[in-house]
Symmetry: C2
Subunit: 408 residues, 2 copies
């Protein structure tokens, strides 16, 4: 990880401050808490028990005295607990990439924003198996004194949600005002509404579905193969040396293809060459702008993510199928939900397509749930849930305010 | 490459015979010819001259005395000259994978088929840079006595077509009755119609376009990265040792995702697990059927393809843009064409989409060419040009027979 000296680069230092804005949550700090120990391990879906488990989370806005204004926000594959504001401990904790950018959903969280911190208390925790403060493959296995690596147990979306429930209960919250997530975060929101039906009032699911498609499984398989095949992978034991950076970079490159629509790629890069007067350079290296973009995305990712975590989190993404709660029948799985639902998909999202979201909508509708579905026209592809802020803000804002779905 | 002993496996031996069918071209034999030497090197688009160049080709049906019944068939990325029938020299030439299957478009070529060998003489040659008999990175560089590896020059679709023109001229053919190709083969067909407008009477382009999309460029970049990152790649110098098999396998896995539509993947595999009573196996290895399929496709590919060739051919695919002949203007590029055109796309093809094919159709239409365009409804995705035989046979058959496009 690149070492950023905050004194040596005045420009960067200047940037590393919350904007002088009334809509920013400002400086944020991570909280770390132990939620499982030897006396109270977490029983995982794979059958193993895991302890100890630390969880990193952030919190924006004030919890009211009844603790009934809490929104639990769930993050996606490469996300973290730092959803809004400017991480005050970024440098101290070796997270230099946070210095010049706010949290991943900063456009949606803050005073007056969709997730209005004047009204709501927003909590976001890092998932089990990740590399951003919550226990994962890079954590020390107390039995060996070494990082878990590939001996870390397989974790699932169900495990994540059960761990989040521990956090929520620990904080004394009986019922969540809302659970909200996009992509893999949307599947956690869905799982919350099915696993803890009495503890969720509202569920907002964006750019997600009840399960990953066969094509999605296929992309994840290729991404993992690329990491497993890296010269530095060494069966996951690389924490005292170079990580399998190139394999992880390739996995990330592939991910980015699936996050952008074909239209977005065409609009953004087309077939333009990087140099040489827009003529071929006649070599096998980076020649097109789209190659340069992917290369950059891959390389910047490896400085902030752990390859083992990528393996584990994509596997959790593969395994999630909400219909499992109904023995393969999604309608049956949805029957117990008590929450109101707002489902939002994006027309050009081909990773979690509108068709898949409609499948979930229909299952909720057939089981007589209070569900609203909106398909937002967008050319951004899957990334739209991070980018179409103007479109989703009024929808989510209104849904959170109202006592019914009418008017959405 | 797996060594197949034709005597040891009676079942396999039985299969290794042309079917007793009136519509098969039966046994076939490759021809190899030198088309460039020191006195007559091929000037490549990259500026280098290449010699010697051997070309492997096959021929089905009889050339008539006027030599005006010849169809030049162009193959795609992983294709070869063996387009129909049963390769009599498969074992002798170490191409054991050909033993239990006929050529790649056998369903379309033979007596009474769309490319009717009772009427037409079909020629298919392997492209420059490939590993199926035509000079490529695995060939010996006469200057060093070693395989070219990465010192092989970058080749283009334009280079391929100029080399094919040498073959056609060598065989004494003045004008081709038709050029036909799918995918990357379709781009060669298009290039023929633009580079040699007076020597092509009919052009059939399937599942292709005037240029690869930004998304297509991106997939190729990831595929190549995977090969370049393989532990065995060794800067392309691996011919005396293990090839970068895993990297090539990953590239092929990724390719297969783009060849199948999402619907085809769902219909074929869905989210089914391979075993364990259709429950997760809780591991990072092959667990879903779609993973097993990709794994198989990847592994079987490495026994029959050369990783360096994959690098070079995907780059040729990247670089091709028919509009280059019109300085970026596709209409201008099409102006000189004299051929009649039949363009066929497939509704679920997302690698070369119907939209892209329509772009080419409109350019040909605007420049007043004789062009017919058909979009075939299909769930097969890009692979449809190999699979929708019943749909494309009457179209191509009629187009080849007629003197005009009317009635297509």
């Amino acid at each position: 990880m690149k070492n950023v000296n905050k004194n040596s680069d005045p420009k960067r230092k200047k940037k590393y401050e919350p904007p002088d804005s009334l809509t920013s949550v400002g400086w944020t700090e991570p909280h770390i808490i132990t939620l499982a120990d030897g006396n109270n391990p977490l029983l995982l879906d794979c059958g193993e028990e895991l302890a100890p488990i630390s969880v990193e989370y952030e919190m924006y806005g004030e919890m009211n005295s009844n603790k009934d204004n809490v929104i639990l926000l769930l993050h996606a594959l490469s996300g973290d607990a730092h959803a809004a504001g400017w991480d005050k401990k970024a440098l101290e904790m070796g997270r230099s990439w946070r210095v010049d950018r706010p949290g991943w959903w900063d456009t949606m969280i803050g005073p007056g924003k969709a997730l209005d911190t004047n009204k709501y208390c927003i909590i976001c925790s890092n998932v089990l198996g990740s590399c951003y403060g919550t226990t994962g493959p890079a954590s020390i296995d107390p039995e060996t004194g070494e990082p878990y690596g590939m001996s870390f147990p397989i974790v699932t979306v169900g495990d994540w949600v059960r761990l989040q429930e521990r956090l929520v209960s620990h904080l004394g919250i009986e019922k969540l005002y809302a659970v909200i997530g996009g992509s893999l975060g949307g599947q956690q929101a869905l799982e919350w509404s099915l696993a803890y039906p009495d503890r969720v009032e509202r569920t907002v699911i964006l750019a997600s579905s009840a399960r990953l498609s066969a094509q999605g499984l296929a992309f994840n398989a290729v991404a993992r193969s690329s990491i497993l095949n890296d010269i530095n992978f060494n069966d996951g034991n690389y924490y005292d040396r170079d990580q399998p950076a190139q394999g992880l970079a390739i996995a990330r490159m592939l991910g980015h293809i699936t996050y952008l629509s074909e239209t977005a790629m065409r609009d953004k890069f087309g077939r333009r060459y990087r140099k040489n007067g827009n003529r071929p350079g006649f070599h096998l290296g980076v020649d097109f702008e789209v190659e340069s973009y992917l290369e950059y995305q891959g390389q910047s990712f490896v400085s902030r993510f752990d390859a083992n975590s990528y393996l584990y989190i994509t596997r959790a993404m593969d395994y999630y199928d909400a219909a499992d709660r109904g023995e393969g029948d999604l309608d049956r799985a949805c029957e117990n939900a008590r929450s109101r639902f707002l489902l939002i998909s994006f027309s050009s999202d081909w990773l979690y397509t509108p068709e898949q979201m409609k499948e979930l909508t229909f299952a909720l509708y057939r089981t007589k749930k209070d569900v609203s579905y909106v398909e937002i026209p967008s050319t951004y592809g899957h990334d739209a849930f991070l980018l179409e802020v103007d479109e989703i803000t009024p929808l989510i804002s209104k849904f959170l305010k109202g006592d019914t779905n009418h008017g959405i």
